[in-house]
C-alpha cells in the first residue's frame, strides 16, 4: 500500500504522461521537416540491415516479381517486407513521402517506452518484495526510491539517439520494440508473449537471440533477485546480530539451505514450446513468402548470412568494417569467427555471474551485442541506454558518469564531422572516422564496466 501511494506521488511529481505525449508530438514535428534532415543517409543512423530505403527497394523488386534480395540491397525479413513495404509505397498528397513509415516508428517507440515502464514497475515491485523477505523493508521508508520504470521510459523517449533513429527512416524502432516485448513478457511471466517477442526480435535482426538466456532466467526465477548469498547471510544474520548485509560479515558454516531460490522448470519448458511454435510459424510464413525466389536457403543466406559474413563494408559506427576491409581473404573466415565468438564467449561467464539479475543481464547482453555486432547503429545504443535507466537507483553510485556522458556527446558530435572530412571533403581518411567508432566502443565498454551493479558483483566475494 505504501509503495502504491509512493508511486502515485512520484508519478504526479514526474508527470510521465505529460513528457511522453510531449516526446511523441516532438517526433511528429520533426517528421514534417524536409527529408528527415538527411538523417536516413547517415551511416550512424541507418545501416544496410535497417535502412527503410533498402526495404522500399526490396518491396519494389518484389512487385516486379523478382526476388527482393536481388541486387543485394535488402537484407531483412520477408515478413517485414510484407508489413512495411506497402507503407513505403503509399503516398498521400500533400504529405511527405515517408510519413506512414515514420508514423509506424513513432508508434513503435511509444509502445516500447510503455513496455519499458511496465517492466520497470514489475522490477521495482519484485525488488520491494525481495527486500521485504530479507527483512530490510525498513530501508524502503528511509531512502527515496525513484520510479525506475517511468524514468527509463522517459529516458528512452527523450534520448537523442532514439529520436534520430525514429526520424531517420529505419526499422530499428520495430526491432527494439520486439526485444523489449520479450523482456516484458518474461518479467511479467506471460510465456507466449516472451516467446513471441524473442522469436520475432531474433528473426528481424539476428543478435537478440542472445536474449534467450536472460528470458529463461526471468521466467525461471523471479525478476532481479538478490544473490543467494544474501539469503544465506540473512539466515546467518538471524542467528547473529542485526546488522546491514551490505557490510562485511564473518564467515560461518552454513546450517540450512536457502528456501527462496526456486527455479520454475515448467515455465521454461512452456517457453520453449511456445518458441518452437512461433519459430515454425515464422519460418512457414517466410518460406511461403520467398518460395518463388529460391526459398528458405536463399533467405537465410541473404539475411543471416549477410549479417554473419559482413559482406557490406560501408563505414558505420561499428568496428568490423575497418578490419574486414584490409584482412586477407585467406584469413577472412577465421576473423569472422573470432569477431562473432567475441560476443558468444562473453555470454556464459556473464550468465554465471549475473544469473540472479536477469534484467541487468539482458541490458549487458544488449550493450555487448550493440558494440560488437556487424552493423551497429545508434538505435541499438538507444535501446540499451533506455534499459540502463531501469537500474537508475544504482546509477547514483556510478563512477565516471559525467565523463561517460561527455564522451557520448563528444562522439556523437565528432562522428559526423569526421565522416564529412573523410568522404566529402577528402581532407581526412578512414582512420579519422574509425577513431570515433573506436572511441564510441570504448565508452560503451566503460559504461558497462563502471556500472555499480557490475562492480558490486565483482567485489562481492572480497
Amino acid at each position: 500500500m505504501e509503495e502504491k501511494t509512493r508511486n502515485k506521488i512520484n508519478e504526479t511529481k514526474l508527470g510521465f504522461w505529460k513528457w511522453a505525449i510531449g516526446s511523441v508530438i516532438f517526433r511528429l514535428i520533426l517528421i514534417y521537416f524536409p527529408k528527415n534532415f538527411n538523417l536516413s543517409s547517415r551511416p550512424e543512423v541507418s545501416t544496410p540491415v535497417t535502412s527503410l530505403r533498402r526495404l522500399a527497394e526490396g518491396y519494389w523488386l518484389k512487385q516486379l516479381s523478382m526476388s527482393p534480395y536481388a541486387g543485394s540491397m535488402y537484407h531483412g525479413s520477408p515478413l517485414l517486407l510484407s508489413v512495411l513495404g506497402p507503407l513505403t509505397a503509399i503516398k498521400i498528397e500533400g504529405q511527405p513521402n515517408h510519413l506512414l513509415c515514420s508514423l509506424v516508428s513513432v508508434i513503435a517507440d511509444f509502445i516500447c517506452a510503455l513496455l519499458i515502464r511496465a517492466t520497470g514497475r514489475i522490477l521495482q515491485k519484485a525488488h520491494g518484495q525481495n527486500l521485504k523477505s530479507l527483512g530490510l523493508d525498513t530501508m524502503l521508508e528511509d531512502i527515496e526510491i525513484l520510479p525506475s520504470g517511468d524514468i527509463a521510459a522517459l529516458v528512452y523517449l527523450w534520448n537523442p539517439f532514439t529520436i534520430f533513429t525514429c526520424v531517420g527512416y529505419n526499422t530499428s524502432p520495430v526491432e527494439n520494440l520486439f526485444a523489449v516485448l520479450s523482456l516484458y513478457g518474461a518479467s511479467s511471466g506471460i510465456v507466449p508473449l516472451a516467446a513471441f517477442g524473442w522469436v520475432i526480435a531474433s528473426h528481424l535482426s539476428l543478435y537478440p537471440v542472445v536474449l534467450v538466456i536472460p528470458v529463461i532466467l526471468l521466467l525461471g526465477y523471479c525478476p532481479d533477485m538478490p544473490p543467494r548469498k544474501l539469503f544465506l547471510q540473512r539466515n546467518l544474520q538471524k542467528t547473529g546480530d542485526e546488522r546491514s548485509t551490505k557490510s562485511h560479515i564473518q564467515h560461518r558454516p552454513l546450517t540450512n539451505k536457502p528456501a527462496e531460490a526456486t527455479f520454475f522448470w515448467w515455465r521454461v519448458i512452456l517457453f520453449f514450446l511456445w518458441a518452437s511454435i512461433w519459430i515454425a510459424y515464422v519460418l512457414i510464413l517466410s518460406a511461403i513468402s520467398v518460395k518463388e525466389y529460391g526459398g528458405l536457403p536463399e533467405m537465410f543466406k541473404r539475411t543471416y548470412g549477410f549479417i554473419l559474413t559482413v559482406k557490406d563494408l560501408s563505414p558505420n559506427i561499428g568496428v568490423l568494417w575497418y578490419f574486414f576491409a584490409e584482412v586477407f581473404d585467406f584469413f577472412r573466415n577465421f576473423f569472422l569467427i573470432v569477431f562473432h565468438v567475441n560476443i558468444l564467449f562473453m555470454l556464459l561467464p556473464l550468465a554465471i555471474r549475473l544469473n540472479h539479475r536477469p534484467c541487468f543481464l539482458a541490458f549487458v547482453y544488449l550493450a555487448i551485442s550493440s558494440m560488437l555486432k556487424s552493423y551497429p547503429s545508434v538505435g541499438d545504443s538507444a535501446l540499451y541506454l533506455g534499459l540502463m535507466a531501469l537500474f537508475v537507483n544504482e546509477l547514483a553510485d556510478m563512477q565516471f558518469s559525467f565523463f561517460l556522458f561527455c564522451g557520448y556527446v563528444g562522439v556523437s558530435l565528432l562522428s559526423p564531422v569526421m565522416h564529412n572530412l573523410w568522404i566529402w571533403r577528402g581532407t581526412g581518411n578512414a582512420n579519422f572516422y574509425f577513431a570515433t567508432a573506436m572511441a564510441y566502443a570504448c565508452f560503451q565498454r566503460k559504461g558497462e564496466d563502471s556500472h555499480p551493479k557490475c562492480k558490486f558483483q565483482m567485489h562481492a566475494n572480497h
Binding site: 508489413v83 529463461i216 519459430i279
Partner: protein, 398 residues
C-alpha cells in the same frame, strides 16, 4: 547451468536446421565457345615508294574494317614503310587508292601498331602466337581468345610458298602454318580468315592444317597478281586488282548487311583480276553461304536483351532482332545467333538434386501450398493471425 546447456542445445539445433537447408548454389556456365569478338591483323610487307599500292591496299582494308565496326583496339596494323609522309609523296599525309583521289585513306584516325622496320617476320610471328617480350605494350598484342574471329590480311611481294618482308627476309608457308597451329593449340581464335594479295598467293596457305581456317589468295601457283591502275599524278600504281575488287564489293555494304562470304568469293571475276582467286574451305566447317562477311570484316555484336536489371532467377534471356536490309538475296540468309545457355544463378528448387530429406518434404509441402494463388495475401493473413494469436495467448496467460 542446466538452463544454459538447454539453451545451447536449442541454439545448436537451430543452426543444424539452418545448415541442413543450406544448399550450395551452383553457377552453371556455358562450355561451348561463342563468337564474341572480331580481330583484324593487316600486314603490309613491302617498303620503298614503288610499292605504294601495297600500303594503299592495307590502308583501304583498314578503313573498310573500321567502317564496318572493328575498333582500333582490335586491329593490328603493320605498315613496313611510310608513304604518307614520304619525301616523294606529292600529296603529303594523304594516301589514295584510286586515281580519282576520292578517299584519303590516311585521314586523321589511323593507328599504326607496327611501323617501318618493326614489321619483321619475327614480330609477325610473335603477334600471331602471342609470345612477346614483357615490355611489349598491349596495343601491339593480339589479345584474342577462344571466341574470336580473326581476319589476317597480307599483301606485298610473294612467290611460291613464301612472302617477302621488307625486301630482306621471307615468311614461308610452313612458318605460317606453324604459327596458325600454335594459335589453335592456345585457343587464340575460333575462326580465322586469311586473305593474301601477292603473286602466287595460294601457295602461302598450302601447308595449313588447323581446323577453323578459311583462306583466300589472289592468285594460284604460277600466276601473278597485278596492280589495277596507275595514278599518273602520284606517279605509281595505287591499288592491286584483288583488293580493288574486294573494296568494290565492300563499299556497297554497311554494318547491318547480311552478305555472305560465298557472295564475296564469287564476286571475283578471273578475267578482271587477270588471275584466279583461289580459296580453300577444306579446313573450314561451315558453309560459306551461311557466314556473313561481317563475321570477319566487321564487328556486329550480338545484343542479348534482358528485361531485368538484376540477375533474377529466371535465367532464359530473350534475343532481339537485328535490323535487316531486306534485299532479295538477303532474305534467304538470316543471321543465326548462337544459343545462350540458360543460366542458373542460384539454388533452383525444381531443377536441383536435393539431398537433405527434410528439405525434400519441405518442398513437397510448399509445392502443394504453391497451388494456391495470391501468396502475398496469404502471407498477410498469416501475419494478422500471428498477432491475434500472440495477443490472445498473452491475454489468457496473464
Amino acid at each position: 547451468m542446466d538452463v544454459l546447456f538447454k539453451s545451447a542445445a536449442v541454439l545448436i539445433s537451430i543452426f543444424l536446421l539452418l545448415f541442413c537447408n543450406a544448399i550450395p548454389s551452383v553457377a552453371y556456365s556455358s562450355s561451348s565457345t561463342m563468337h564474341t569478338n572480331n580481330w583484324a591483323v593487316l600486314v603490309c610487307t613491302s617498303r620503298f615508294w614503288f610499292n605504294y599500292r601495297h600500303m594503299a591496299n592495307t590502308l583501304s582494308l583498314y578503313r573498310t574494317v573500321k567502317r564496318l565496326g572493328i575498333p582500333d583496339e582490335r586491329i593490328i596494323l603493320m605498315l613496313a614503310d611510310d608513304m604518307a609522309c614520304n619525301a616523294r609523296n606529292k600529296y603529303p599525309a594523304q594516301v589514295f587508292n584510286n586515281e580519282n583521289h576520292r578517299l584519303n585513306l590516311y585521314g586523321d584516325n589511323v593507328e599504326v601498331d607496327y611501323r617501318g622496320y618493326e614489321v619483321t617476320v619475327e614480330n609477325f610471328m610473335r603477334v600471331l602466337t602471342g609470345r612477346h617480350e614483357t615490355a611489349v605494350p598491349r596495343s601491339k598484342r593480339l589479345l584474342s581468345d577462344e571466341g574470336s574471329h580473326i581476319l589476317l590480311y597480307m599483301t606485298g611481294h610473294g612467290g611460291d610458298e613464301f612472302l617477302k618482308f621488307q625486301d630482306s627476309e621471307e615468311l614461308q608457308s610452313h612458318d605460317l602454318a606453324d604459327a596458325v597451329k600454335q594459335m589453335k593449340e592456345k585457343r587464340r581464335f575460333k575462326e580465322l580468315l586469311i586473305m593474301v594479295d601477292t603473286c602466287q598467293a595460294a601457295t602461302l596457305f598450302s601447308q595449313l592444317q588447323s581446323p577453323g581456317v578459311l583462306a583466300i589468295g589472289s592468285s594460284m601457283k604460277g600466276e601473278n597478281s597485278y596492280s589495277h591502275h596507275l595514278d599518273s599524278d602520284v606517279g605509281v600504281s595505287v591499288v592491286d586488282r584483288f583488293t580493288f575488287y574486294t573494296l568494290a564489293y565492300f563499299e556497297r555494304l554497311n554494318m547491318y548487311d547480311n552478305a555472305s562470304l560465298s557472295s564475296l568469293f564469287n564476286s571475283y571475276n578471273p578475267n578482271l583480276l587477270m588471275s584466279t582467286a583461289y580459296y580453300r574451305t577444306d579446313l573450314y566447317g561451315r558453309q560459306l553461304e551461311e557466314v556473313p562477311v561481317t563475321n570477319f570484316f566487321g564487328s556486329v555484336m550480338e545484343t542479348i536483351h534482358t528485361d531485368s536489371p538484376y540477375r533474377a532467377f529466371s535465367g532464359k534471356y530473350s534475343k532481339i532482332e537485328i535490323p535487316l536490309d531486306q534485299s532479295d538475296e538477303v532474305k534467304q540468309r538470316r543471321l543465326k545467333s548462337s544459343d545462350v545457355p540458360q543460366e542458373l544463378t542460384g539454388s533452383n528448387i525444381t531443377g536441383k538434386h536435393v539431398t537433405c530429406p527434410v528439405t525434400r518434404t519441405w518442398n513437397a509441402i510448399l509445392g502443394r501450398i504453391g497451388m494456391m494463388k495470391e501468396l502475398d495475401s496469404l502471407v498477410n493473413y498469416g501475419l494478422i493471425l500471428m498477432f491475434l494469436i500472440a495477443t490472445g495467448s498473452s491475454w489468457f496467460s496473464s
